[in-house]
Symmetry: C2
């Protein structure tokens, strides 16, 4: 169940079996039904989670409309770093778009982990940078590409996701209205 996770961690640095057991021992299984929230605006994020199975989105609400910033699926880490790292109230939401199975770790357990085996800081740092670069790429696409180019790019790079996510969310993710996306698809 956690082979993917272990594989990913091992790619960043060499960890002993003992390190890995320690890490796994600090994780707890968790579930989200479709539509359930992992984090709501105003809350302080106290967990990060590795998705075993399912799909979630990090999004904000503008004028009553949900604007996805990121879709996070199986074998990826979900969380909102800004709230988690600074222990400040979140200005984002995270909810499940499908029934989702998680392994989550609390902020306290993460601190404990770093204390016992500081090498895990490299893993967190890797994640932070990866997340940064990914976000920056999407932001860049939003400002440099036309709506049509953004849509094609999204479809080509996320063919699997494009069939799991409703179009009005894809539209919002791409920074356009659902009507405009419909127009583009013709």
């Amino acid at each position: 169940m956690s082979e993917h996770l272990i594989k990913q961690v091992q790619l960043i640095d060499n960890f002993t079996d003992q390190d890995i057991s320690l890490f796994l021992g600090l994780l707890e299984g968790s579930y989200l039904l479709k539509g359930e929230h992992f984090l709501k605006e105003g809350q302080i994020s106290r967990h990060f989670a590795f998705i075993i199975e399912g799909l979630t989105m990090l999004y904000q609400i503008q004028d009553g409309v949900e604007i996805p910033c990121e879709f996070i699926k199986e074998n990826e880490w979900v969380g909102y770093l800004k709230s988690f790292s600074t222990a400040s109230p979140s200005d984002m939401n995270i909810k499940a778009l499908e029934d989702t199975k998680l392994l989550r770790i609390s902020a306290e357990n993460l601190t404990k982990l770093f204390h016992i085996q500081p090498k895990f800081m490299l893993v967190k740092n890797y994640y932070t940078e990866y997340s940064f670069f990914t976000n920056a790429q999407h932001a860049n696409d939003l400002s440099m590409l036309s709506a049509k180019q953004r849509y094609y790019k999204f479809i080509h790079e996320n063919y699997d996701l494009s069939n799991r996510i409703p179009q009005y969310l894809i539209a919002a993710y791409l920074g356009i209205k659902p009507q405009s996306l419909s127009r583009l698809r013709k």
Copy 2:
């Protein structure tokens, strides 16, 4: 000359005078004349630098036009993390908009620093996250606000910069054409 830098570092964690001397010893003074590059597209970034005095921009080139992603001024760190961390060729450029005085550290010296005093990893991680959050905010503004709102926000939050940066660069930073910015200013 480096009091600001020391103050910033001390805010993140407590460092002994010895730690600080070690750190300062790994920095080297450097200068950029207005228009000179700190990093060019295609190069691998091997340095990060703290700006003592001056102004720089991180930018990309699209269809021959310079598009600033970030303006970095005195008492801030300048560099391009994606190229620096992954030692990959840069897809961005960094150049000075004013004559600029720097204290720079090489990737090798940074590694050395982390090895001798791992607590400095917290400083790097702090910078990475700060940079992430700042970038995300700008990206969000670009997609959620109108051109007029973006301009007003920029002017109000960066009044000093707005007089040090030519308008065509501010326009590009805000994702609009210089002509459109002119129109807005009326």
